[in-house]
Symmetry: C2
Subunit: 289 residues, 2 copies
């Protein structure tokens, strides 16, 4: 026998050696690193056979909970902070542009194009809110014709795609195009905090570890402009519960905004909202691509 | 906001803090370690979003390939050396007893009880082989009445449970009880090397990484005796292909045995086998429980 046989001491090296012939160098690198960290984990906790069996059962059930409209493995990645880490590693801004956060599982359909000023709250529920901002390049130059794709929950904490029989199609989502000064504005409602789906294996993991399934109230954005790197992010509502314990770790300080109340019937009439209403201002700065 | 928010630098600490309230201390320890090693892996390779998506798809398909008779996640654990590592960590012998190896996925049914000397090769195929050995305690004392549960592939490289319509039920498996001197012996055939199921996602992973799916020829054993720790192990055939590249890393030097040919018609008649035949001797030493 020429190759080294398995031993507890050298387990990661022996298994990594089996991947040494991987034709694609990047796949070889990823598998080698995965093996090393996975074996480190097993040795670190001295995983028991009963725990290993429980892990096999958990992973199997997680796979079998997935359907065309539910992705339980993404949820698992989310609650372990892996989705957020991958997002962050791949979108370092160096502090000079709007920070990114997770896309989340509810950007499942193309949002309808809207006109500036449109009301995206088609179900007539919730606290009226005027959302506005400016999209700029790295030196503050306005980006005219940028697209701003937004989506959020309704007053009950659900996205339209979660309630196809309850909410009007396209409720609380839309794609806006910035004006000559890079500005956008539209009418909506204040988004609401909500639980991630917690009736599957990931929900049971949260329960077993004393964690709640909630995300703080937020509005999703994808801003894109020619010649610039798009950003996928949220703006979070400053007075929302769960801001410091987001189940998927999406909150960054730079993404939190106050949503002050405006009590001014004239201004309300001007923007087409009931009085009083809230305002949410979120400017986005993009890096050049 | 009181709790620390997510950052690339402190991602593992921030996520681990979310598990700090886990009521069960062992689960808290396991999840904290898992988070740390998983985040180390993502940072180590700077996993791209496309790779993360591929991983989510792979894990989902692995879960959805599982059926009541196929466990693709165990197969994944096997080819990453995790099954073997868990087995080894939980059955350290200190070099004073028979080493263990993986149970494998084919011990799915209770093996039929057999009499010493029985022939377990019910399908009449293969190279006849007399298997014998002695079960002893740590000081070499014979263990009378110990049970020896054995199972192996037939000449075509399949277990009976894989071919319920082809092989007789209980083919090449059985439970023997040692005699007053702790000895066991039975008639069988030389086992054959075989591929693990490779038509699913794990098979595609092996193909993409230039690995073959084969296991070297072996005979499974579970030996158990009152007052002693049972051992789950294999004996490997010394001249088998793949001894130095077992797809599941199960081979240990101490478990490999020659299977010499005996060409002696008188001895063949005595043991009830066709001449010539092979002999395989495997003694098992158990630790006290």
């Amino acid at each position: 026998m020429s190759a080294e046989l398995f031993s507890e001491e050298r387990s990661a090296e022996v298994v990594a050696a089996a991947f040494a012939g991987t034709p694609d160098p990047r796949l070889r690198q990823v598998m080698t690193s995965l093996v090393r960290h996975l074996h480190d984990f097993v040795k670190d906790v001295e995983l028991t056979e009963a725990e290993w069996e429980a892990a096999i059962g958990f992973l199997t059930e997680t796979g079998q909970t997935c359907t065309p409209t539910r992705q339980e493995f993404i949820l698992l990645s989310d609650v372990l902070g892996v989705s957020m880490l991958v997002e962050t590693v791949n979108h370092r801004t160096g502090g000079t542009a709007t920070e990114s956060t997770v896309l989340g599982p509810f950007h499942m359909v193309a949002s309808p194009p809207r006109e500036l000023g449109d009301d995206i709250a088609l179900d007539g529920k919730g606290i009226p809110c005027l959302v506005s901002g400016q999209v700029t390049g790295p030196d503050g130059e306005p980006l005219a014709g940028a697209t701003v794709d937004v989506w959020q929950t309704n007053e009950d904490g659900f996205y339209d795609v979660q309630q196809p029989d309850v909410q009007p199609a396209g409720n609380l989502r839309g794609i806006f195009t910035t004006d000559a000064e890079g500005r956008f504005w539209f009418r909506s409602v204040v988004p609401r905090y909500y639980p991630i789906p917690d009736d599957g294996p990931v929900g049971r993991l949260l329960a077993a570890t004393g964690r709640h399934p909630y995300r703080p109230a937020h509005l999703h954005f994808i801003a894109a402009a020619e010649g610039h790197r798009p950003v996928t992010t949220h703006v979070f509502v400053a007075d929302s519960p769960y801001l410091d314990s987001d189940a998927v770790f999406g909150v960054k300080d730079s993404l939190v905004r106050e949503v002050p109340e405006v009590d001014d019937p004239q201004r309300a009439a001007q923007v087409g909202l009931a009085n009083p209403f809230r305002t949410l201002t979120f400017d986005l700065s993009l890096l050049r691509s």
